[in-house]
Amino acid sequence: MSLPGRLSNKKEYALDRFFGYVFVVSAVLVSLVIFSIIVFVAKQGLQTFGDIGFLEFHLGTDWDPPYRFGALPFILGSLGVTFLAVVLGAPLGLAGAIFMAKIAPPRVRELMRPATDLFVGIPSVVYGWVGLTILVPFVAERTGGFGFGLLVAGVLLAVMILPTVISISEDALRAVPRRLEMASYALGATRWQTIFRVLIPAALPGLVTAVILGMARAIGETMAVAMLIGNVPQIAKSLLEPTSTLTAEIILNMGQTPFGSTWNNALFYMALTLLLVSMFLIILIRFVVQRRTYDG
């Protein structure tokens, strides 16, 4: 038997190797870029503590650069909006995912899936603008304040993380083998019992991942939050009082601080904090996902 493929095999092999190198180089490049960002941000950020005490920065409530650098209001603001967003967005998102995965008729699902995906792609400035035009006056009118603050920012963030939470938890729910559901039904369980006692526990790692990713999105969101939070460096005493977040503070001040100044370094340190928080969340997800097993 002749082997007509034999000659070209050598060529293909060379091509194989070439593409192998291309992929390796891209992988190295990407890692390098990410690593450099982390190193750069850390290097700038950590210089802050040449001028200001570590505790003063984290626990001080007085933000009056270039004299005082108490960043606690921003830290609390970031935690506050994130908490609100998750508390409001996660249950809604999970409910939506359950509806889409298990209750909606196929045609409704076919419509809702692309719609949720579309929501992910809306630029945050659009969300922010809509919030600014509708949500802020709505709240201001009913409460008598200005409307800016944790409440509006949290509500808007909840809406913004919804698609992330929905699409990831829907995938997790749909990945649960159908035979588990069948087993439950065959024992005389109702649909709700099956959903709450079999489906959700089985999909739990995926659902937790969805919520954590939502959280990561919320804590890192900048533009929409900056438009709604009020940007006042004070600890909010109520949901309706204007305050600020790490992200909002960075974006509003980065342009007017000379590179290398304490103020500028402090902003880099805030960025480093955000970076570490999201890295921590990603690692957390890896940890959670590892537990996912359906078959022994």
């Binding site: 035979r179 069948m182 065959a186 024992l187 005389g188 369980a189 019992q193 022994g296």
Partner: protein
Amino acid sequence: MANKITVRNLNLFYGDTQALREVDLDIEQQQISALIGPSGCGKSTFLRVLNRMNDLIEGVRVDGQVLLDDEDVHGPEVDVVHLRKRVGMVFQRPNPFPMSVYDNVAYGPRIHGLKNKRRLDEIVENSLRDAALWEEVHDRLFRSALGLSGGQQQRLCIARLLAVEPEVLLMDEPSSALDPISTLKIEELLQELKKNYTIVIVTHNMQQAARVSDVTAFFLNGEIVESGKTDTLFTRPKDKRTEDYITGRFG
């Protein structure tokens, strides 16, 4: 002996395709009825009619009569949840829930409202004993059921079913995914269980049908070609097609 389930003129359609044609079958109390036939002959579909698991599949339409103790399972007043409590099912592939052995068995009683811890403990132990699994798992009740072997998992699924005290056990090729020793254990178990339960088993394995069942029905292309006492059907089949199938000429 009394009929537990009586099926008359049963037709079933998946959309436009007819999967069961004019099926008549009597399933007797405390007997093991085996359904045999080649792949796609409708035997599993038939099994799912008996506890209305077909309701969960889109586009399935059924007509005809399926009586469970003289009550039509498709009747308007039938509560399908209650029906499935009475007519339970074991599946082809073991499907324990990703939870502990204990929680798997306690699942049924719990969803039917039992909270008493002592009573639950009792049911779990008895069900596992009845499924011939207690000795193997009593020291690991609170560890994940997914750590059990395939055969153990299948017996766990049977225990889980027994815990809801059904009257009829439907088994869809319960040992086809298991090794010979596990299969033997399941078959021995069936002989024990038949003292208290009516059992309907779908099997691909004709030796298994011959070994375990009292009555056999041979399905082909959605129809029952022949049904009757297992001994008779396997030794003196009336229909040529039955003979061809059991002698391994097709299927």
